[in-house]
Amino acid sequence: MTHDPTAIPPGLQFLPDPASNNAAEFWHCLQLYESDASLAHAVAHFIGQGLKAGEALIVIATAGHSEAFEEQLSEQGLDVDQARMGGQYVPLDAGETLARFMVDGWPDLGRFNEILGETIRRVTAAGYPRVRVFGEMVATLWTAGQQEAAIRIEEIGTDLARTHGFPILCAYSIDSFSNPAQREQFLKVCSLHSHVLPTESFPALSTEDNRLRAIALLQQRQSSLDAEVTEHKRAQEALRQSEALFHNMADTAPVMIWMSGIDKLCTFFNKVWLDFTGRALEQELGNGWSKGVHPEDLDPCLEVYVRSFDARQPFAMEYRLRRKDGEYRWLLDNGVPRFAPDGTFLGYIGSCIDVTRMKETEGALHESQKRYRMATEAGRVGVWDLNLETGEFYVDPRLKMLLGYREEDIGNHLDDWVQRLLHPKDLGPATAVAQAHIRGETSFYEFEHRVLHKDGSIRWFLVRGRLPRRSDGAAPHMLGTYTEITERREAELQVEQQRSELAHLSRVTMLGTLSGALAHELNQPLMAILSNAQAAQRFLARDSANLNEVRDILKDIVEDNRRASEVIQRLRLLLGKGETQHQPLDLNEVVQDALRLVRSDLVNNRLTAHSELAPDLPAVSGDRVQLQQVLLNLVMNACNAMADSAPAERSLVVRTALLNGESICVSIQDQGTGIPPENLERIFDPFFTTRAHGMGFGLTICRAIAAAHGGKLWAENNCDGGASFHFTLPTNGAAPA
């Protein structure tokens, strides 16, 4: 419906001119209206009277209304622009002004007084004796649902008007009070005003009858409204109770809970939240909670909230919130929109949990994944999976790259690896180690493999694996890792090579001193062979040769030759420069071999050697030559130590013993002069020697060999004279040698 906006609506009552009242009198009028045209007429009348009386006008209105008012004023022949220029007419935007003094959805008294007081002071200073004010801010708030805030503004506005003694006109659309539930608020608003002017329709009722009927209708409406109000109150009580129940629940829930209204402002925080932040509910309400959010997280956090809120979508986000001890904790916040049973949107409810620990774990996991990835990317570490039934062999493809091949160059079957890549020398030992694990004798498989690179070079890999058993006892897969250790191994090999060269040098030196004894060992069988052979020649030269005798002789020659070969073999082993080879060894055997080699030296030096060997010793893993060298060295040292002893005392004892089932101890005990206590350690130093012809590194090498075997070598003096050398070696498992 369009009608002439300039026409004064019939029945519109104009308020009495406040100017006619005493200036000090409190004048706060409430104008109700139905149509904007009525409002414009009423307000323009109010403004126009003031302008004509030379008073200043402060008009706080919505933009649309301001325009309508000014149009009306022009209709009345008033020059609005001039009044504005002269500071007599001061239009302010309702929304903007509101925003200047509203804090967290509530009018700030200080700011309100400051803003309006300043405006009033300014117009007063411009020379206008009196000010009248029109305000629409309350109506704006009211329609936005912030009735309490509106009432509060009415209250402080009234106080301001009383203080400064100026009239205020407020205007509310009658539609604002259409909700019967707001009846009490309506009455409250009315009570805050000195004058209430009805809407234009009421006085428009032409006849007394019509007016009575209207009143009756209104009364009826009133009673039904009262009933509705009662019902509403009951519902409110139920709601309050249910809210109380909710709050109770929310407070006891182990999570942090918040709620917000349709304006996005928070209306509730549970006890857990408040205990967490250490702040009061009042501080957190509205947007107060956001003060605790980590500055870096606030913007993304609000962005998610606002976006989800406007879309009425649930959201989940993580942000850091300051705990009462000042520490920022990571929260996972899940928000969901709330709807009334009738589908009305009520705001959001959210719950938060502290995920800091989880984040840390996640971080650590991430780190470890990153490390693993870096390691695997570098190719040095990877995983493998061997199907024991089919021989299918999965390895990280990087391993193939590492070996100079493309993925498709090598099949995924164990045979492909064994035949083409695995170092032939490692196959036997590796298989033995694997089988020991499969039989359950070891808790895992561990072997340092040599693998051939495409370019022919050798790469070393430490391969570890396990055989996880399923609940049914079957173990079809062996799983494990590989680590490239070529550099480490090469360094180790270099050290080992140097040690081995030194050991060799030491061995040759030692054998040099033993050469007489060794010559004896060799020359004895050679003597027997030669004599036997020449005897045979002589027998055969005779006419009546006894062939049986010759046969016996030949048998003896073969036997003596075998003995000589054994000696040579032992010697070759000791003189050899072969690479260190670790193999399972029976230490008793090594001891006996060593004693056999030095036997004639002992005889020559009028020494007797006894061995007390523990039976059934477990095997040790070691290099036969080097261990024999250690024993030879220690036995020869013992001989030297007893060189000056009386012949009856020249005896040495070699013992083997199992210690705790974990290591074997070989002891060489002499009856010599003993070692001065200050030298017990020094004798292992390089170039330390007490003998005229000693090189001084025999024991140094021995100790290095012991260490390389994971064992120890030390000396001590016996209580009853002489010294003992003890040499321990770890056993390499439970299996007897």
């Binding site: 020359n523 004599s531 005897a535 020559n604």
Partner: protein, 215 residues
């Protein structure tokens, strides 16, 4: 006549002992083998001729010890040392102690056999010399003190006249003594008597000879 010489073998190694026995047997020699010096000493017969083939390096008593032990007993048995290790100080010591030879194992049969033969010859010679010595000693024991005195002078190359003058008895009496000495000592010439006396270790009387030399 003495029995056949025997080669005594001492070595702690059975195989060597067995082979050496065979070799010597093949060369027609008698052998007797012992596993240790102690064993040998237990069975040692000083009258048995032959030689000893002895290993040096043996436990407890070694070859040199046995050599000393035999020397202490006054045994003259020639010793050939066999050593499996060419040890110079030891061989020097062995030779100083009177070893016939010092051979290094493995020793060739010719070397060993010739050493053994030489040793056996030496043993035989020494046993013969010993026998003659004892015979001469028996003959000397039959001489009267005066005859012994005359013998000393005669083998010094003095004339009867000179001896008579030195002893202060008649030249004629000296002639009788001289004839008895020659008879008792079973010699026909002065030269023979001088040799026998020398063999028996009898020193010629001095003084007069020096005078003669001065003249």
């Amino acid at each position: 006549m003495n029995p056949e010489p025997t080669v005594f073998l001492v070595d702690d190694e059975a195989s060597v002992l067995k082979a050496l026995s065979r070799l010597l047997r093949s060369a027609g020699l008698n052998t007797e083998a012992f596993r240790s010096p102690e064993d040998f000493l237990q069975h040692y017969d000083p009258h048995a001729p032959g030689c000893l083939v002895l290993d040096v390096a043996m436990p407890r008593l070694n070859g040199l010890d046995l050599q000393r032990a035999l020397a202490d007993k006054g045994a003259q048995l020639p010793i050939i040392f066999l050593t499996a290790r060419g040890d110079i100080p030891m061989s020097v010591q062995a030779m100083k102690q009177g070893a016939v030879d010092f051979l290094t194992k493995p020793a060739n049969d010719e070397d060993l056999l010739s050493a053994i033969r030489a040793a056996i010859d030496r043993d035989r010679a020494s046993r013969q010399a010993g026998a003659e010595r004892s015979r001469i000693r028996q003959q000397l024991a039959m001489l009267t003190p005066r005859e012994r005195e005359v013998l000393h002078h005669i083998i010094a190359g003095k004339l009867n006249k000179q001896v008579a003058a030195e002893l202060g008895i008649a030249e004629k009496t000296i002639k009788v003594h001289r004839a008895r000495v020659m008879k008792k000592m079973n010699v026909r010439s002065l030269a023979e008597l001088v040799r026998v006396a020398e063999h028996a270790g009898i020193k010629p009387a001095r003084g007069a000879v020096q005078k003669r030399l001065i003249i």
